[in-house]
């Protein structure tokens, strides 16, 4: 967090040295939202607030964001943020649209937020992301009459990062948790499939062969039939485990997983990087130890 929101307003919510280009798309989108805000002075002060750690907590509870911001008062101010929830009808349009493309379900199931997700929401005439900052509803118990006040604005800065922890929190704010969404999606897909099979069966001359799915009783474990298997193991050591080798570059889990999607506490600017660096260092050290241990048996 070395670059303050100077007059050029080059603000990043990630509060790191990383440029915008390396941010997930939803963070970028959120940033655009903030940058489109007209009252730059207020934003600057909010930025300082956020940076100095005045935001003491942000919680996603149901469809709302609850936050506490330490202001001039002794007690922190309570801030609430929320978006307009989609009603069931809207959601049914969204679900229908999502079912049209297997890719959307595929990505959501794999934990990836599809970059063109708005197109599915467009079917209901609604959006997932707010289009203007005004669409982000908010409430603060500070004496300032203006909305957004600087407490609310301070939350704005931190929200983008919090979306990275779990992009599906956006769905939650719109009225559906990820679990609920996935269940609904599966259900919806099943209905579509059922209809599809029906039409293909009607259209085709020969009835489609029966799919090979049926409930079978759970087979008994072989050891129940042959109890000597209880103690028996005839496997040999896998050839790849004969020699224990270190990871190739970038093969380690930390490298593959990349940056930890945890919003940073502004008071501890490099905490996340330090955390990862230390894990990395220790990981290499432990890898060395494991290799030594594996070799120790050789003598």
């Amino acid at each position: 967090m070395t670059n303050p929101p100077a007059n050029n307003l080059n603000i990043t919510t990630a509060l790191t040295d990383q440029g915008l280009g390396e941010q997930p798309w939803w963070v970028e989108q959120w940033m655009e939202l903030i940058n489109s805000y007209r009252f730059k002075k207020r934003l600057e002060r909010a930025w300082t607030y956020a940076r100095e750690g005045n935001v003491t907590s942000i919680r996603f509870e149901g469809r709302r964001v609850h936050a506490r911001v330490q202001g001039t008062d002794e007690d922190p101010y309570k801030v609430k943020l929320w978006l307009d929830v989609l009603n069931d009808e809207d959601w049914s349009y969204v679900l229908e649209a999502l079912t049209q493309k297997a890719r959307w379900s595929a990505q959501l199931l794999a934990g990836i937020m599809p970059s063109d997700i708005e197109r599915a929401f467009a079917a209901s005439g609604r959006r997932l992301f707010p289009f203007k900052l005004q669409e982000v509803r908010s409430e603060c118990n500070c004496p300032d009459k203006a909305n957004p006040c600087k407490h609310i604005s301070a939350i704005y800065f931190l929200m983008g990062d919090r979306f990275s922890e779990d992009p599906f929190v956006l769905f939650q704010l719109r009225g559906r948790t990820r679990e609920k969404l996935l269940t609904d999606l599966a259900e919806q897909r099943r209905q579509v499939l059922a209809n599809l099979t029906k039409t293909t069966r009607q259209n085709s001359d020969h009835p489609e062969s029966k799919p090979i799915c049926y409930e079978l009783p759970i087979p008994t474990h072989p050891a129940i039939q042959n109890p000597s298997l209880w103690w028996q193991y005839e496997g040999n050591l896998n050839a790849d485990l004969v020699v224990i080798t270190p990871s190739l570059d970038g093969e380690g889990g930390l490298n593959a997983a990349g940056d930890l999607p945890l919003a940073e506490d502004p008071k501890f600017p490099e905490a996340r990087q330090r955390f990862l660096n230390h894990l990395h260092e220790q990981g290499q050290h432990l890898a060395q130890k494991a290799m030594l241990q594996a070799m120790a048996g050789d003598n």
Binding site: A106, E215, A223, W230, E251, A257
Partner: protein, 1064 residues
């Protein structure tokens, strides 16, 4: 003997407990136990060492772990139902009313499985090792081989731990936050292994398929529900089984359980070694990091904060890997049809456990909410599993996006460029994110898709295939991905400038240097020899001028030679040669044929038949064969342990009387070259001991031996021992070729460390230099059980080793049920001296003693002589077993050699002696030698002890392998059918008594062939007894008919004939 077991005790998560898992180790041990059953709690397992005993035992074996506490756990074990023993009717009827419960005993590993087997919980006493210490302990366990002290599941554990080490070494892990599973339960920080990569996923399947259930059989005991007052109904077996449905509820997915165990091992190790450093971290990360390094991993943070951490860490992990599932998405690439340009990529769902089990995406979509059955694998939510995989695939193979535009995609088309990217790079990346990829066979990677050769070869018309260096007639073609092509084809295809090309209907991948390599090979104009043919058909992937040979087709005549060489077919039998006195069994004729086959090739041969199959006879027949064929022109040197020289002489005398056999032994042996040459005139076979051969090596090396034979070839196993070096030196060719034959009864091919010296003796180049051998084969195989190295090693040595077992089907039909073997032994120097002295002194005394005392004196003499034949200490009434005990008795030396083979083979043996004192001495000696208990049943063993000894020998799965019995006390009545060897260490006048003793093992219930070993000391009174029994002479009938009366009537000269030691 005890057997160590280990099982995992999962963390018991309660608000108060630390919630750490533990490894429970316990040891099975045999003892007499009464059947028992569960009451309010499971019964105590009656066959385990108590914790104190276990500690001592582990300490003795150098296996005592750190971080242990005494523990008792409830384990589910296969059990045998038995009614309580020794109850009177009255008692049992009372019992029936009071205790309706089940009674029985738990089965032990290795025990025969009864027809009716049930699963019951037992309280097992053992030691619990805390997870960190458990991983250290597991790392030290052997990774291969069978260790008599360790249950097989310990090898499974050591493999799992090896995998954990590999994951840590490759840094394939990620820290996670695990939310509490209920109110008040703590949240924890965990280290989680990442199993998304193809090789790790395969390993999980392997270990899950091989999981011995004992490794995870700890289940909490649930007391049957029901009215407290009605204890009887509650404790009925049905009620207990219902509340503890152990057998029926065995978890289905070994995969998930193994993944959990692995996670526990990885977590324990990383946790132990991790040193938190919290400087500059915010409270969240500080708490997480500290918990990652703490013993129990508990994180204390407010609920919403922990939620954040959990969500973020989960999201972080999701980026690389999904959950462990029974199936995965699979992409199948199909080549374009004729005239088309585009490749087809079909989507499918594939079972993790067996990649061959797959269904097209359409079936997965159609399954809807139902369970999909892939063979035996059940896949719940098949559609979601498939979609999740496709979503993951999209992160590494972008073109896939196009194929996922509709609701139920089944396939898509790829451009040639995209197909190439998939084949070359993306396939592996996809596999690493857990997506299956199936490429067309000709492109599926590996050696087969590279440029190589297809060869067709045959022996030249005149050749009989007898010499290794001879050239073959041959044709060859280039081959890629299973299709053959000419150099011209290759030039044309390379001109297309596309890496994937179609040839003869198949798509193949051309690599940049293919054309150059092919041109190089074509211009070289090579020849191949029989040598090459053998090499190329020995191991897969062997190369000719650096090109892999994908296909080798041998013409019918060459095929015949190769098949015989690789022992793919039984060797052609060779009938017993003229001049051989005796009959060869069919397998012995094949052995003879094999020896002469390798001899023609000038290859050394190791005949490693099981004991009792007649290696001596086959070797003698081979020498006689050479002699009859007029091919035996120079003497052959046979080296054997001193203890079997006598046997060799005996057997040669009776089977091959035409062979001129001489001993190079004793103080009168030739000591100069001239003497030796003189002695060797007209001699076919010279026998000597390993010791003398080494001492006289310079002298013996002056002879141009036609062949060198070593018996009990394990004597040269240590390559650096002088004896071994000398033996290998003398086997090297002299002026002429020298055949090399090794005889051994041990399974040589399984004793990797001993193979090098043996092969260096037989065929020095086959295994390379010793250092190379150690690095390439010995270390990987012995330490890690590396199967590919072992396979390679076996394929290299197997042409030179012929081993038949007495259990082989082909052998069984040739051999009688009971095989009697005479073990001829000599006497040690000391024995000889004592024997002679005793004979002289006693005969003199007998000659001068009054008639009334003669009878007793004669009997006393015979007894004493037989004792001397066993061991001087026995005759001298010593009771202490000295350190050089074995050196004093040739019989004991031979006995030990044979017993070593018996023990190695895992067989059991009865040892009969007529002298109780000898039994006591032998017991001490054998127990010291093999460090296990050797029971001894003799006249003063009480009745109950006898029964216990017999029961244990018959029933204990790890019972004693040797059982000593005195001929009188153990010769009748007992049933000892677990033994398949019977030793008569000393002879008795009456063969009926010996046969009765033999029948302890050879009787109804015996499932194996019984080998009966009768020791006969050559030249001594034992030989005379043997002769009399064999010849059924009048004298023998007298002996048998009228006891020992006749002895008293023998004159001194007759007596002298009977007892005097004859040198032969």
């Amino acid at each position: 003997m005890s057997l160590l077991h280990a099982t995992w005790l999962p963390a018991i998560r309660t608000p108060t407990s630390s919630g750490r898992p533990a490894l429970l180790v316990w040891a099975d041990t045999w003892r007499v136990a009464n059947p028992t059953g569960p009451g309010e709690t499971p019964a105590i397992h009656p066959f385990t060492l108590d914790p104190k005993g276990l500690r001592t035992w582990l300490n003795d074996k150098d296996l005592l772990p750190d971080g242990i506490i005494d523990a008792t756990a409830c384990l589910t074990l296969p059990s045998r139902a038995i009614k309580p023993r020794g109850q009177t009717k009255l008692q049992s009827s009372i019992q029936d009313q009071r205790e309706p419960g089940w009674t029985g005993l738990p089965l032990q590993a290795g025990e025969p499985i009864p027809k009716q087997c049930e699963w019951w919980p037992w309280q097992v006493q053992g030691l619990a090792i805390e997870p960190g210490a458990a991983t250290t302990w597991l790392s030290k366990l052997p990774l291969s081989g069978h260790n008599p002290d360790l249950g097989e599941e310990l090898r499974w554990w050591s493999h799992l731990q090896r995998w954990a080490l590999s994951l840590i070494a490759r840094e394939r892990w990620l820290p996670q936050v695990e939310l509490s599973k209920g109110e008040c339960y703590p949240h924890r920080a965990r280290w989680v292994p990442l199993l998304n990569r193809e090789d790790d996923r395969r390993r999980l399947e392997e270990l899950a398929a091989g999981l011995p259930l004992v490794a995870t059989c700890a289940l909490p005991w649930r007391e049957p529900t029901g009215k407290r007052s009605n204890r009887i109904t509650r404790l009925r077996p049905e009620a207990m089984r219902e509340s503890n449905p152990v057998a029926s509820c065995r978890p289905r997915s070994g995969r998930l359980r193994v993944a959990t165990l692995l996670e526990d091992l990885v977590d324990a190790q990383l946790r132990k070694g991790f040193e938190p450093q919290t400087e500059g971290l915010d409270p969240l990360l500080t708490a997480w990091q500290e918990a990652l390094g703490s013993e129990n991993g508990v994180i204390k943070l407010p609920d919403d904060e922990i939620q954040r951490l959990a969500t973020a860490s989960n999201h972080w992990r999701e980026g690389i890997t999904g959950n462990v599932a029974p199936a995965r998405a699979c992409l199948e690439l199909f080549t374009p049809s004729e005239g088309e340009d585009l490749w087809e990529l079909r989507f499918a769902l594939q079972a993790e456990a067996d990649p061959a089990l797959k269904v097209p995406a359409g079936t997965a979509w159609a399954a809807g909410a139902e369970v999909l059955q892939l063979g035996e694998v059940r896949v719940e939510h098949p559609g979601e599993v498939l979609l999740e995989g496709l979503g993951r695939a999209l992160t590494v193979f972008q073109p896939l996006e196009r194929g996922l535009e509709n609701a139920t995609p089944k396939s898509m088309q790829l451009t040639p460029a995209e197909a190439f990217v998939l084949v070359r790079t993306a396939a592996n990346q996809l596999r690493d994110v857990g997506v299956g990829v199936e490429l067309p066979p000709s492109l599926s990677g590996g050696l087969a898709s590279r440029l190589g050769l297809a060869i067709n070869a045959e022996l030249s018309k005149k050749s009989r295939g007898f010499t290794l260096g001879e050239s073959l007639q041959w044709k060859w073609e280039l081959m890629i991905g299973g299709v053959t092509l000419t150099l011209k084809d290759l030039e044309r295809l390379a001109g297309k400038r596309s890496p994937l090309v179609r040839h003869k209907g198949a798509w193949i991948e051309l690599r940049p240097n293919d054309l150059k390599n092919a041109e190089h090979f074509c211009s070289a104009n090579t020849n191949i020899s029989l040598d090459d043919a053998i090499r190329l058909t020995t191991t897969e992937g062997d190369t000719l001028m650096r090109l892999p040979v994908h296909r080798f087709e041998a013409g019918p005549r060459l095929q015949g030679v190769l098949a015989q060489y690789h022992q793919q077919k039984a060797p052609d039998p060779l009938p017993a040669p003229e001049g051989f006195c005796g009959q060869l069994r069919p397998y012995q004729e094949r052995g003879l044929g094999w020896l002469s086959f390798l001899n023609r090739f000038d290859q050394g041969a190791c005949l490693a038949d099981d004991m009792g199959l007649g290696k001596t006879i086959q070797l003698l027949a081979f020498l006689q064969h050479l002699k009859t064929e007029k091919e035996l022109k120079r003497p052959v040197l046979l080296i054997a342990p001193t203890s079997v020289l006598t046997n060799w002489k005996r057997e040669a005398l009776s089977f091959t009387p035409n062979l001129e056999v001489q001993e190079h032994y004793g103080p009168k042996r030739p000591s100069t070259t001239a003497d030796l040459h003189k002695t060797l005139k007209g001699v076919d076979l010279i026998l000597t001991s390993y010791g003398l051969m080494q001492r006289d090596i310079e002298l013996l090396e002056t002879i141009d031996w036609q062949g060198v034979v070593i018996d009990e070839a394990q004597a040269i196993k240590n390559p650096s021992a002088k004896q071994s070096q000398a033996t290998r030196d003398i086997a090297k060719p002299g002026k002429n070729n020298r055949f090399r034959i090794a005889l051994t009864g041990t399974p040589v091919e399984n004793r990797v460390s001993e193979l090098w010296a043996l092969m260096d003796f037989l065929n020095p180049r086959v295994l390379g230099e010793e250092d190379f051998f150690r690095q390439r084969y010995q270390l990987p195989i012995e330490r890690y059980g590396d199967m590919s190295s072992l396979r390679d090693l076996k394929s290299r040595v197997s042409p030179f080793i012929l081993r038949r077992l007495k259990t082989d089907k082909a052998i069984i039909s040739d051999l009688p049920e009971k095989v009697e073997l005479s073990e001829w032994v000599g006497l040690s120097k000391e024995q000889k001296k004592l024997y002679r002295k005793t004979v002289e002194e006693t005969l003199d005394a007998i000659a001068t003693s009054p008639k009334g005392q003669r009878h007793g004196k004669i009997l006393g003499l015979l007894t004493r002589l037989k004792q001397i034949c066993n061991h001087p200490s026995l005759a001298l009434k010593e009771v202490v077993v000295s350190n050089d005990f074995i050196d004093h008795s040739a019989k004991l030396q031979r006995l030990e050699e044979i017993l070593e083979e018996v023990i190695e083979a895992g067989d059991r043996a009865l040892l009969f002696t007529q002298f109780a004192e000898w039994g006591h001495l032998l017991k001490i000696y054998l127990e010291k030698r093999w460090r296990f208990e050797v029971p001894f049943l003799h006249g003063s063993t009480s009745k109950s002890e006898r029964q216990a000894l017999v029961d244990r020998f018959q029933e204990d799965p790890r019972g004693p392998q040797l059982f000593l019995l005195s001929l009188k006390a153990g010769g009748v009545g007992l049933n000892l059918t677990r033994a398949s060897h019977v030793f008569h260490i000393d002879r008795w006048w009456n063969p009926a008594v010996e046969n009765q003793a033999t029948d302890r093992a050879y009787r109804i219930g015996q499932v194996n062939r019984v080998m009966v070993h009768k020791f006969i000391t050559s030249g001594s009174v034992e030989e005379k007894i043997d002769q009399m029994i064999r010849e059924k002479s009048r004298l023998a009938e007298d002996i048998i008919g009228s006891g020992e009366e006749w002895l008293g009537n023998l004159g001194v000269s007759e007596l002298r004939k009977l007892v005097a030691l004859e040198e032969n």
